[in-house]
């Protein structure tokens, strides 16, 4: 079974306790009313659809119930890291470099 590290519980826990919640680090426009239709559509629906390391949101809904962020390789399904909401986006090169050394 895939284990996911919850940054709030600080434990590696079974995937069954978690749900995926879409791409991470997408800011809601400060003034939606000022956007034209295309910009609003892009905010709502257009995602990067990455092949490889992807910044995404997860929720530990059957545990501590918190949302958090993760970097997961969409090809291998391997989690490179998870981190709390509000923390900066980790630098990909340092993550992959770290993986490579292990």
């Amino acid at each position: 079974m895939l284990l996911i590290h919850c940054p709030y519980c600080d434990e590696d826990l079974p995937e069954l306790e978690f749900t995926y919640a879409g791409e991470a680090h997408i800011d809601r426009p400060a003034d939606p009313a000022s956007l034209d239709d295309e910009a609003w559509r892009n905010y709502l629906f257009i995602r990067s659809n990455v092949k490889g390391p992807h910044y995404e949101r997860w929720r530990h809904n059957h545990g501590c119930a918190r949302f958090f962020n993760a970097v997961r390789d969409t090809v291998s399904d391997r989690f490179l890291t998870t981190y709390r909401v509000g923390e900066p986006r980790p630098d990909l090169e340092s993550l992959i470099g770290k993986e490579g050394r292990e």
Binding site: H62, G63, C64, A65
Partner: protein, 186 residues
């Protein structure tokens, strides 16, 4: 043959007991208010997820960074409510009664941990006695309290209770059948 006689009367090595109702509350309060509200409610609110405290029949389990489940004897329901209400102006929080939402099943016996693993994906060895967690059991969200090495309480939402109860009873009977087979072949 009557229907009842077809059911295997062997109960299995784990004792399963449906517990009496208790007063249950879902408590949400921020970091700043945690200690003060705990004092008002008369028991410590542990800071770490999975940690528990108890004081004079009341119990608290930390479920999330700002979330606890609080148990009390039914007779103390009003007392607890009033205490929280009085603290509200100083410590904003949410205390919602959920007494009727769940039914608690108690498991005790040498194979209690084995029995839970038929339906729970957690590694229960990482959950020491005296702690608790919200997790899943048979696909259903539950709160699991580990009271001892071989003793657990399981809070199950009312509408899922019969399903989880019968699932664990089935597993328990399988343990009994297994033991019977072993003794026959010995």
């Amino acid at each position: 043959m009557s229907k009842a006689s077809k059911i295997n009367p062997v109960r299995g090595p784990v004792q399963l007991e449906v517990m009496e109702p208790v007063a249950r509350f879902s408590l949400r309060v921020g970091k700043q208010g945690r200690q003060q509200l705990g004092q008002a409610l008369g028991l410590e609110l542990p800071e770490r997820i999975g940690m528990r405290s108890s004081q004079g029949g009341r119990e608290a389990l930390c479920l999330g960074p700002d979330e606890w489940v609080v148990l009390a004897p039914e007779a103390e329901r009003e007392t607890l409510f009033t205490a929280a209400l009085e603290a509200y102006a100083e410590v904003p929080h949410s205390l919602a009664e959920i007494s009727d939402r769940e039914i608690t099943l108690r498991l005790e016996g040498e194979r209690a941990t084995d029995l839970l693993t038929i339906a729970c994906p957690r590694n229960l060895e990482l959950m020491p006695p005296g702690s608790g967690r919200r997790t899943v059991m048979g696909g259903i969200q539950v709160v699991l309290w580990r009271d001892g090495q071989d003793a657990y309480r399981l809070d199950v939402w009312r509408s899922f209770f019969d399903y989880i109860h019968s699932l664990l009873e089935t597993g328990n009977r399988e343990f009994a059948a297994e033991a019977q087979l072993e003794s026959q072949s010995a």
